[in-house]
Chain length 192, copies 2
DNA sequence: CATTTTTTGTACTGATCAGTCAACTATTTA
DNA sequence: TAAATAGTTGACTGATCAGTACAAAAAATG
């Protein structure tokens, strides 16, 4: 009861996510957030309490949308190598095409001091763990079907691939050298 | 001529480096920098001009000290695998032992928006390139001596290893799971 | 010793920060 | 329609920000 909200929570968190994604937590101002979300200060604080709580929501939303989409992509049909190649190629193209070089919000949050404690860190950990699990599942599958050599523990292989993947996204932050990124991809696939 | 400085530039930049390393660029305040360096605002600004210029100096200093030390470690005697294992083990131990989880300053700079443009980005790029080159040299050496299989381009192998290395440092930011980090190491070494 | 040059310490600046508050508006409920 | 409830608005707060101004202090130069 009472006056209804004039905005959709999802849309507002999506907008806030964009701000944090572009600027990081520290550099994002509440003014930026108001401008992008279209909300006044009062509404923003009434709905989310603080800049940091909104940040948590944004990271959560990132996991629910972008993170989930990536996991879904990995679950599509095709050989294991094809799917992993698809994922990395998609990231290379997306990162290089983005003039703001925002990269991966979860990775950004992991690196920024503000995201290394409390709820944000927990969200990031979970997102990392989800990817690890999906990759491990894929490697296990590939080993079972004979597509991949089965001489090494799937979890180890998955974790190494995941590391190469995050390293790739770090490199993509500062380099324009597509060939370097493609080398990372080829090497990571060859290491399976 | 004129009054001599009461401080050593190196010592001051070292102190500033610690601040930026712990807090990142945005969250580090000029007050933090004054407190840690022991300089007054006047001296700091007279000597370095701005917070951002001091940041540049700090990143440069990081490359000159920590970065160079790491490259030197890779050049020590021992088999290629031994040296690479040493490097990763050292990083795992160091990162997990650091309560502040500062990680690698160059990597932090690469992900923070402030470090993705201008001189700081150039410094980070160079540091990445230096490591790539040293790794490539090591792989080439290993392939020549027969320690490593020579069926893949050394540069590709080096780049993939480098990516896994940076990914490792990202993971170490949010996880305490030493086994997960060791898996990354073992997998990266197995992929050589 | 007086002048020049540079550093140092500190008080100060305007801007901007995250967050608050009270008046006002819109809706539900009785 | 009147009371209750919740959302919106924009001005406001004190704190803190990066950076500056300036006078005092310390050295070099003549």
């Amino acid at each position: 009861m009472g006056r209804p909200r004039e905005f959709s929570d999802h849309a507002v968190v999506d907008a806030a996510m964009e701000v944090f994604w572009e600027k990081g937590y520290e550099a994002a101002t509440t003014q930026d957030l108001c401008a992008r979300t279209g909300l006044g200060r009062g509404s923003l604080y009434n709905a989310f309490g603080s800049k940091h709580r909104l940040y948590e929501e944004a990271v959560r939303r990132y996991a629910e949308t972008k993170g989930a989409a990536q996991l879904a992509m990995l679950a599509e049909p095709g050989s294991v190598r094809e799917r992993l190649r698809e994922m990395m190629l998609g990231v290379i193209d997306a990162d290089l095409a983005d003039p703001g070089r925002r990269g991966c919000l979860a990775l950004n949050a992991a690196t920024e001091p503000s995201g290394r404690t409390g709820d944000v860190a927990a969200l990031v950990r979970r997102q990392f763990a989800d990817l690890e699990q999906e990759l491990c599942h894929l490697v296990t599958l590939g080993q079972r079907t004979g597509e991949l050599p089965a001489d090494r523990p799937p979890l180890q292989v998955a974790r190494t691939f995941q590391s190469a993947y995050y390293g790739l996204r770090v490199l993509a932050k500062v380099t324009d050298d597509r060939n370097a990124l493609l080398d990372v991809m080829e090497g990571a696939l060859a290491a399976l």
